[in-house]
Amino acid sequence: MSATTIETSEYATSYLTDGFTLRSWLLTTDHKRIALLYLGSITFFFFIGGAAAALIRYNLIVPEGMIASAETYNRIFTMHGVVMVWFFLIPAVPVTLGNFVVPLMLGARDLAFPKLNLISWYLFIIAGMVVVYSLFVGGVDTGWTFYTPLSSEYSNGHVVATVVAIFIAGFSSIATGLNFIVTIHRLRAPGMTWYKMPVFLWSLYATSVILVLATPVLAMTLILLGFERIFRVGVFDPALGGDPLLFQHLFWFYSHPAVYVMILPGFGVVSEIIPAFSRKRIFGYNFIVWCSISIAVISFLVWGHHMFVAGTSIYSAMVFSILSYLVAVPSAIKVFNWLGTMHKGYIRFDAPMLYALGFIGLFTIGGLTGLFVAALGADVHLTQTYFVVAHFHYVMVGGMVSAFFAGLHYWWPKITGRMYPEMWGRLGALIIFIGFNLTFFPQFILGYLGMPRRYHSYPPEFEVLNVLSSAGATILAVAYLLPLAYLTWSLLYGERAPANPWGATGLEWQTQSPPLTENFDETPIVTDPPYNYPPPEVVPHRV
């Protein structure tokens, strides 16, 4: 721990001290305050989803299921899916770190439409309240995928209430995406051309393109599902001439790009942290940047790989398989470029860097197992089993959540003006890596052996691997509570943060931390290219 000389920060005034009334927070249009409001809300939902995950792993300790009724188990994993996907993973980085950092990185005073930004938060909160209501009055037992005719006719859960909640949350995503795209296009600081922008902005731009163009299709799908469930109209009901596969097509047209909404901001955060802690320009800036854009485009063409055994035509399955392999190439390029950045760098192992390195490792495993389920022949055996569960948890939890924590630690000094405790941060990163692998690696083996997903009870020969996985889950739970503890601690007792604790490039580090309400005294002029790290003679590294 550094010498505890409490330098009184000369930045007494900042956006945090610009009004203490509840009204100044709840009616703020300052992108930084809205980012903090969002940070609180998604942390709340992260722990609801996390509690459901704990119950799932608790249930699977014994083959016949610890929780008595399968009905309850179905509702628990549906809650885990719905809350985690729409109320944590999709908003996480864009609305918290993105909202805070995008105007700062652009050298702008605020987003293009500040009032729309506040509306987006209120839509998120209303949606959150409706989903919490629907969970507490009984929840849904259809899984977060809501396949018809189970969700439209045979389920006795609160499908319509949950569908309304997701419908409203969708508009919150569209508002955020629209705000980011227009801001990145129109509010760049003078001198900041597209190739002088940090990669984080490019990946948030790609994420917003997906948010804005995919979510409307989900909105219409949910309207049709609501009609089908209330009026039994037959759009998805084969007895009346409808086609249940139409629902799956419309659902996955949104939901596959949505998983890229979850991972692309993670790419952006890691592309900021690796150069900063390797003191070296990013390797292949143009390739990484255009990889993000190509992921945003191709991700709309691959949704059919979720339906290889669903009864769609085998020829359309082949088209979707080749396109799914195509979308994997940009992610592979990004991983090699991060490694290229570390090559011949001056690597420091602060907490954000450890989370980012964990991200690269776990995301690579997740990405590679994606190749298993993109190959048609292998997918017939592996789909709908724990192999797929492990695949998407490696990408979403191993990738996205690690990147979210990396970004949170990286920009924590800028957001709160306080430094987090370094040793605790590194410890947290290590425990997450260990706990995560112990939880989800056994599930690959379970998946190959054929254990189906969403099963309340399972044959006894899968028990040992499930117990191993549940043990890992307890470590993971501790690993997630740790940052909550020491980051909250740092709010009060953390060391005051200087303007640029990591010596990183980027406009957000050229203003005070925490920044003023209008971010910059006068709009900065951008001259040199991004990540212009001179090889450090003296390393401005805190002792």
Partner: protein, 314 residues
Amino acid sequence: MRLWLTQATTSAPEVDYLILALLLISCAVLALVFGLMLLYMVKYRAGSGVDRGALANKTWRLETGWTVATLVAFFGLFVWGADLYLRLFQPPPDAMKIYVIGKQWMWKVEHSGGQSEINALHLPIGRPIELVMTSEDVIHDFSVPAFRIKHDVLPGRYEMLWFQAVTPGTYHLFCTQLCGTGHAQMTGEIVAMTAPEYQKWLEQQGASETLAAAGKTLFMRNGCSGCHGVGGNQAGSAVRAPALAGLYGSAVALADGTVVTADDRYIRDCILLPATQRVAGYQPVMPSFAGQISEDDLLKIIAYIKSLATVRPS
């Protein structure tokens, strides 16, 4: 705890080779990524004085190199997977048909000899077997991990699945598409037996009449014979209705000008939605039996009409 799944069908080893190849490629790439990462973490850590030398700024040669390599590898994997997929879902013509009906939380199996089973499927090894599957309510999924095969079972449609069992034994059957409360109980046993054992099992299943015979009684009871005649050849029927003898598999000209082959789906649609399949030159007088005939009775009637096809005096 065993880490290896028996390969019980002819296609199982092929799926396993593909998964093994994917595993090897993944391990190679992982070794490269983790290796490079650890190497750089040690060699280029902040304190190490190792010479960094000139930084390569022309990166696109390296980038296009590994991108092309990845594309070629991926295309190879795609072709391998697609070829296997096509073979998995195109049955040989001489496959033995077994009918499977998924119902909320149980599997009903109908053998063409009339034997029916609940949550169990006895089948002979050594010959291709084709499962013709449908569901009576929600979407289920007939999945046998040991056979490396699964397929969703949709209501209102026939879905098909084929395999050729190799090693006798008892294997798990799972429903792998969430279908409500009893989804986890909707499991069963697939018993693969040698041909003689299978014959013995068929006999001791009791002389319950074959599907076709059961279909004949249903054909009478539901009044089909009233119009289509007792043997389906219009004998002694007051109303003019298409002859059913020799119908199965033949081409039928419909009233709206299209020509369809009379297969399972066509006959099923005629029974449930007769007006949509009106035969050219006949009045649409046939009533719809939708909702009156259950799925397994429907299979019996279709089996009976299929048996009329061979009775034709060729």
